[in-house]
Subunit: 343 residues, 2 copies
DNA sequence: TTGTAAGCGTTATCAC
DNA sequence: GTGATAACGCTTACAA
């Protein structure tokens, strides 16, 4: 039914190997045969079977994206499409396709990873989040699977990674609020299992300490990585005796939830309550008031991770690579300090 | 290096076919050998090579997603992750993986499609938007490629599709504004090349007509499918002599841009200007004021498209299937008619 | 219940 | 320059 390399060969009066060489642009082929074979390929509407090629070449020219188990939650955060946008841009440029592992029902992350890589469907893997004790990292290391982590490994590891300096970023965000005169600053984080949460929390705590303030655990809450989580976190923080006058949310989606909670309770932002988010998702500037947030350049995170992975696939190196993407505080209105220059 | 079916067979003292049958859960295999082979597979950390299997089975257990050429723009709209969430959920449940075509640099949509399907990397394709004269549809039909379109074909076609009744939806949205007393209602649409834009425009026009109003082309604008497009569209509509008192945006992202434009010019929503969006993206309720929008159940669109495609792959049927996902107007504040029951 | 062998569509290694 | 031929790792008649 589908036309294959043999059909083309017969029709062109050559051998399959010759056709193969034409496909591969092998120089040792006469211009004449090349043209004739090309014409036949067009005529028969022939397309090389990528699966067969993958089998013999032992490579698929595809990158695997391992989405955390909580897919449903993951897609709800605008972080996803943005990082995917960056990955796509680079992958496309380099001629790699993208493979999303959703795999078999009930399989856990590790099994999905093995399915994807060991089955040779992809040449390497991008991990989209790192948990504090992530068994996936061990599997990747043990099997010498080309991989790049977006985030950083909590423990020493031989996996390459692309990340922000999250401690510094949270430090900077907190310092911004301290400079605005805030003394009691709350922190709404995502799951404490995520390295990024712990890093940002740590930066926040250090900034308070450096400013001579005390770290008050009642001002810290960690919630589900959803708008609803931010809502609940804010409710919690507003219910304690000495309320915070400012909030750092470790994700814009959390910040949105926090703003909704504050609004419903009649608190005015930024007058009663300053808020700073993280990520600078496209809609942050559309919030009311427009949200001050730490831009972590998600698109660039995606691009760098793809570049790094492709490099690793094509020129394997013994040592892991690391790359820090800079962060920029985008000052809008929700923190109470509006700087029109940065808008 | 990598352990294959032969290694397992030798180690277990059976033939490769027996191992294959164990993998496939073939019933005609003794419980004893099954267990022994399973044990060896674990011991050797064996994983079947999906590529090899695909080659012989002529199927890859993967669905292809063909993203419009304007990838960059596409990922910027929250529609994407939401539809992907629905597709993923179903694909995962049915044991299919997802393959995003980004393909080779410079290839156009058609070539990308052929690469993906003819190369047997995927068993079928989901098209994420339909243009008015979409050559992709012809290619799919001609080659009898299992495919589902999210949207509807503009011309008669044998492709299955999942869609909203966009004419009716726009009709309903417009009628809602008419009932609120608006006479001059503007329409901000996306590219006129997209079927969805034309359908919504048509529903809008019909509603005006049915209400005895005139269709004024100056009240209609079509822009890029981005926040910026909505911003520009709104500027345009506010600049005409007899300003509209209400706006229908054919996408929430456009509506967000429109709201920003209105805000910057000092118009108050909903008092000076009512706005109704389309899609009910997660952040619509967080807009200021919360946005009235037509919920088109994107998640369900994704789910249905995946279901339909998988069914088509597994039980090919001669006739195309069609499925309409219902729409629901979510009345919030931006239209000026706040109904607390629907919030 | 299990084994043998052919074949899925390519590419790579030799020859010539 | 080009052509046989043997892989790549698996599934599946057909035998036994």
């Amino acid at each position: 039914m589908a036309v294959n390399i043999k059909d083309v060969a017969i029709r062109a009066g050559v051998s399959p190997s010759t056709v193969s060489r034409v496909i591969a642009n092998n120089p040792r082929i006469s211009a004449e045969t090349r043209e004739r074979v090309r014409a036949i390929m067009k005529e028969l509407n022939y397309h090389p079977n990528a699966i067969a090629r993958s089998l013999v070449k032992q490579s698929s020219q595809a990158l695997g994206l391992l989405i955390p188990n909580t897919i449903e939650q993951f897609f709800l955060n605008p972080f996803f499409p943005e990082v995917l946008r960056g990955i796509t841009q680079v992958a496309q440029h380099a001629g790699y396709d993208l493979f999303l592992s959703t795999a078999l029902h009930g399989l856990n992350d590790i099994e999905r990873l093995e399915q994807m890589v060991r089955s040779k469907r992809v040449d390497g893997v991008i991990l989209l989040t790192a948990r504090v004790e992530d068994p996936l990292l061990f599997v990747l290391e043990e099997n010498h699977i080309p991989a790049v982590l977006i985030g950083r490994p909590a423990a020493p590891s031989t996996i390459s990674w692309v990340n922000n300096d999250n401690k510094k970023a949270a430090y900077d965000a907190t310092t911004h609020l301290l400079k605005l005169g805030h003394k009691r600053i709350g922190f709404i984080g995502g799951s404490t299992e995520l390295v990024v949460t712990m890093d940002r929390l740590s930066g926040y705590a250090t900034a308070l300490q450096d400013a001579g303030g005390a770290f008050d655990p009642r001002l810290v809450t960690s919630e589900e990585f959803l708008e609803e989580g931010g809502y609940i976190g804010m409710m919690r923080l507003l219910a304690i005796p000495e309320r915070p006058s400012a909030i750092i949310a470790s994700d814009d989606v959390l910040a949105f939830g926090a703003m909704r909670a504050a609004g419903e309770l009649g608190h005015h932002i930024p007058d009663d309550l300053a808020i700073v988010g993280f990520n600078d998702i496209p809609l942050a500037k559309l919030a009311n008031p427009p949200m001050t947030t730490m831009n972590v350049h998600i698109y660039e995170l995606g691009q760098e991770s793809a570049k790094m992975l492709i490099e690793q696939i094509e020129w394997p190196a013994p040592d892991p690579k690391e790359h820090l993407v800079p962060h920029t505080l985008v000052v809008r209105r929700s923190c109470g300090a509006w700087n029109p220059l940065v808008l």
